[in-house]
Amino acid sequence: MNSIRGEAVALDTNVCIFALRKEPNYPACETLFFDKLTALQVYIPLQIFLEVQRNLTTSEMRRVVRALTMAQAVTWDYAPAPMDLIRQWEQRGAKKGDAVITVYLEVATIRYLVSENRDFLKELPALPFTVLSSEEAVRLLGVGSTASVRPQQSLS
């Protein structure tokens, strides 16, 4: 797999929360969020924005948003996800919340989701994006185009 430099990636809520918590089981979340943000093109859909916001105070959220604006690029997607597409993914077996995230990435043609939820739609075939752990994302940011990792989910 090529480096994810130059690729827009979605950061799941758990990456942000584990980074801020300094969760010892997921140290790469902190590395990715605190040290690699300027190398990342970040895509934040409304759903993830709201999830992070519900976990933080107004002041904490304001500063996290400010940090995200210092990424190489950041796209805030405040449009609601189309309901018909959400239903399609639900019919394929996705929980509604995961279906919403999938639709956002599908519509915005985002090829990578960085998440520590290893079960994210694991049961579904033909996901339109690859799920990377933060550890894999950090590795892919630091390597050239010939290095590879085994992604949790593959591009269909």
Partner: protein, 97 residues
């Protein structure tokens, strides 16, 4: 000697326009004007720091709050489950039916 935790009293002169914006923001955020000014000054200083420094301060505040709420040492599995539940809750609110 560390000055952490100590406070000093400051008299601040602001333009009427800025003061009105602050009072309006304090009203919206349901804070005292003094508290919001303290926050804004601290955040303004952080605007000159690196991302790591900025997020380090947020992390310290967040972890201190979690500690007060007895949630700092939740297992990562429990945190993930709470986030899954929150995802479904927000989805139900945004996309009912």
């Amino acid at each position: 000697m560390s000055s952490m935790g100590q406070t000093v009293q400051v008299t601040l002169r602001l333009s009427k326009d800025i003061y009105e914006r602050v009072t309006q923001a304090a009203l919206m955020e349901q804070q005292q004007v003094e508290d919001l000014l303290r926050t804004l000054i601290a955040e303004g200083l952080e605007a000159h720091t690196t991302i790591r420094e900025l997020l380090k301060h947020v992390s310290e505040d967040y972890r201190a709050r979690l500690a007060r709420e007895g949630k700092l040492y939740q297992s990562s599995g429990d945190v993930l489950q709470e986030l899954r539940d929150l995802r479904e809750q927000i989805t139900r609110e945004l996309y009912p039916g």
